[in-house]
């Protein structure tokens, strides 16, 4: 019963923060950052389900993100599809690809899994880079605005509402998933896959489902980001973006939904703050990565939670 309350409380607080934030932010740029944080957080929450809860590494998730973005861009630009249909098509295609590859990929563990997902992401980004006719090539392509039933979403305020609602939805979904039998099965797999199998959990089926779910969510987030920013480049599907996403998961806190949001927030704001360190941004970023992992290996939110809990004792 207490668990149920805390889940709802967390969601309520998030909703409150999201509602209050635009009133506090001074101008449209800050709202832009908030929107980007929300969109990143959506992907990170889904990725965390895979990495944090189920314990599978993926170094190629930006590939799925990019697939969604480019599906939306190409279908709306070259074929005049309505944006929602393009988004759905992108999500479907990504889901299918993830499903086909999930079984052979998830048989692997540790570094081989990392390598396979890395390879997948890079292949996707190379294809996007090369097929210029559909994707605009390395210089990228512009994306028309998102219109649904005649209403176009434009301007930071409207987009903020969309992003905030989607983030709340994703958070609610994730929290529900974790507290359900499925969630417990996932954590069992993380603890010890063989033990879970012995206990009767169909580990392969669960791993595949989480993999596909996280891929589909990434694709949807990619599509939405594409419409928001209005211009996409192959870099979105690239290795560095995949690493950024994993970093957001790990720094924020593995196996923590709110940790994912914090991780996304921190790493989205960081490049803005690092501009003050002319020339030293890359170094500072690297040092922050190493420092966080060494001193807070579980990630920010779980480490702080642990410290607060032990202090309360």
């Amino acid at each position: 019963m207490k668990c149920l309350q805390s889940r709802h409380r967390g969601l309520l607080i998030l909703a409150l923060v999201l509602a209050v934030l635009p009133l506090v932010l001074p101008n449209a740029f800050y709202v832009d950052v908030a929107i980007r944080i929300a969109l990143n957080a959506i992907v990170v929450i889904a990725l965390n389900l895979l990495i944090g809860y189920t314990g599978q590494i993926s170094l190629g998730h930006a590939g799925f993100y990019g697939l969604g973005a480019y599906a939306s861009a190409a279908l709306t630009t070259h074929f005049d599809w309505p944006p929602l249909a393009a988004l759905a098509a992108g999500a479907l295609a990504t889901g299918l690809l993830a499903w086909v590859l999930a079984r052979p990929v998830l048989k692997l563990k540790g570094h081989t899994l990392a390598m396979a997902t890395l390879g997948l992401g890079i292949i996707i980004s190379i294809v996007i880079n090369n097929e210029g006719r559909w994707t605009g090539g390395p210089d990228g392509m512009s994306v028309p605005a998102f219109a649904l039933a005649g209403i176009t979403i434009a301007g930071e305020t409207s987009w903020y509402i969309v992003a905030a609602v989607l983030l709340l939805l994703m958070t609610w979904l994730a929290l529900n998933l974790i507290d359900s039998p499925v969630g417990r099965a996932l954590q069992a797999i993380h603890g010890s896959e063989i033990a879970a199998r012995v206990a009767g959990v169909d580990t392969t089926r669960f791993k595949v489902r989480v993999f596909v779910l996280s891929a589909v969510v990434a694709s949807i987030a990619g599509s939405i980001s594409a419409h928001y920013i209005g211009f996409i480049t192959p870099g979105m599907a690239g290795f560095f973006h995949s690493i950024e996403l994993v970093t957001m998961v790990v720094v924020g806190g593995m196996a923590s939904v709110f940790g994912s949001i914090i991780g996304a927030a921190l790493l989205t704001i960081l490049p803005q703050l690092l501009q003050a360190f002319e020339g030293w941004e890359v170094v500072v970023f690297g040092v922050i990565l190493m420092g966080t992992m060494i001193f807070m290996p579980k990630g920010l939110v779980p480490s702080i939670a642990q410290r607060l809990r032990s202090r309360r004792k």
């Binding site: 805390s6 409380r9 998030l14 932010l25 090539g137 210089d139 209005g230 870099g235 490049p271 939110v301």
Partner: protein, 388 residues
């Protein structure tokens, strides 16, 4: 379970509020002219963005030392997009909304520029891009201008020279980077105009360490009479080296303006002998005839940059200098920083001598250069020689 989550989110909200408060309070007291700039100073395009930033910083300082513009100082607000177009988009928003700049210079890569363009159009902010692709100014966008030659012009200049020498079958080797891919597209588009057929179309990656396979294929393309390489930085140097290794000197090699730098000569060594390419006047400042309109401008830039940074200036830095000078000139003619007035002044720039060429802008031409802004040079005895 409940308390830590509450504490964390409240803490975060408080931090966010504090941070925004701090940023808002940093308003400037004086009345300077704010030049905003988003450049790729790190990442794969750092080779271009680094001299661009150095140039802007050097000359903003110089202009301020000489009294500023219309009695006001220039203030350069710059951000590094790390060669990421999405970040370029975000920083542009920051420059428009938070820093409230009067003019925007930047967009080192075409991708970054195209991601920034919609924002400046919406905000009605004059924007001078430093990117190469023709798509930046074709179709013309009201608030977007650019200083570099287009990749189409580079292809045309090279094909013009080839046609003169009776070459009509060309093997194309382009880089998979934005610069190379765009160059390839333009080369394919204008080849027929000069009676040229592309009998081979190979690509290489910007960080490739061995390009002999592609060169071998081009070597054996039926009837090939010349090689045209479109890339910049390290890649074309590797191509040149491999070209020497495969003893391909009997096949004339043309390069793009991407290698118009002394670094290319240094890296390629004697294999670069005989290579021909189009270049802005800056590269051959010393070899320009005395009456050349650009000679004083490029010689001054060359001297000033070497004095400050102890290294050769690059033609990419030249793009930034031209953008800055064009902005300053436009602001002077507009009598202030009123955006529409500055834009109109930019659009009516005539006979402006820059390092890249002589600019003649118009409502339909937001770049203002023609083929004469490119000079054809050939590598002779390890140095550049101006071709007539």
């Amino acid at each position: 379970m409940f308390n830590p989550i509450l504490k964390k989110t409240v803490l975060f909200a408080a931090m966010a509020a504090a941070a925004t408060g701090a940023c808002a309070a940093a308003a400037s007291a004086a009345d300077p002219i704010r030049i905003g700039s988003v450049l790729s100073v790190s990442g794969p395009a750092a080779f271009l963005g680094d001299p661009e930033l150095k140039t802007l910083q050097l000359y903003v300082e110089k202009i301020n030392a000489e009294g500023g513009v219309l009695g006001r100082k220039l203030e350069l607000v710059h951000y590094d997009d790390g060669s990421d177009a999405a970040k370029a988009n975000s920083f542009t928003k920051r420059l428009i909304e938070s820093d409230k700049v009067d003019v925007l210079i930047g967009g080192t890569t075409t991708g970054a520029t195209m991601a920034m363009a919609p924002l400046v159009e919406k905000a009605s902010l004059p924007f001078i891009s430093l990117a190469g692709a023709v798509v930046v100014i074709d179709p013309v966008k009201k608030w977007v201008f650019k200083t570099p030659h287009t990749d189409r012009m580079a292809a045309e200049k090279v094909f013009e020279d080839m046609k003169k020498r009776g070459i009509n079958k060309v093997g194309l080797l382009s880089e998979t980077s934005g610069f190379g891919a765009s160059g390839r597209k333009e080369a394919q588009a204008v080849a027929a105009k000069y009676g040229i057929t592309l009998v081979a179309d190979e690509t290489y990656g910007p960080k490739d360490t061995d390009i002999t396979a592609q060169l071998t294929r081009i070597k054996s393309a039926p009837g090939v009479q010349a090689l045209f390489v479109f890339g910049l930085g390290q890649g074309p140097a590797v191509v040149t080296k491999n070209y020497g290794q495969l003893a391909m000197a009997s096949l004339p090699m043309y390069q793009s303006h991407g290698v118009a730098s002394d670094e290319y000569l240094k890296l390629s060594g004697k294999a670069a002998e005989g290579v021909r390419l189009p270049t802005p006047a800056l590269l051959i400042a010393g070899a320009l005839p005395a009456g050349d309109a650009q000679k004083p401008v490029v010689t001054n830039y060359d001297k000033a940059y070497k004095e400050r940074y102890k290294t050769e200036p690059s033609t990419f830095g030249g793009y930034a200098l031209d953008a800055l000078n064009l902005s300053v000139d436009a602001i002077k003619r507009a009598g202030g920083t009123d955006r529409e007035k500055v834009r109109a002044a930019l659009e009516s720039t005539k006979g402006f001598v820059g390092t890249t060429g002589v600019f003649n802008m118009s409502p339909l031409n937001h770049m203002g250069l023609d083929l004469s802004a490119f000079r054809m040079v050939e590598v002779k005895n390890g140095d550049w020689q101006l071709l007539k």
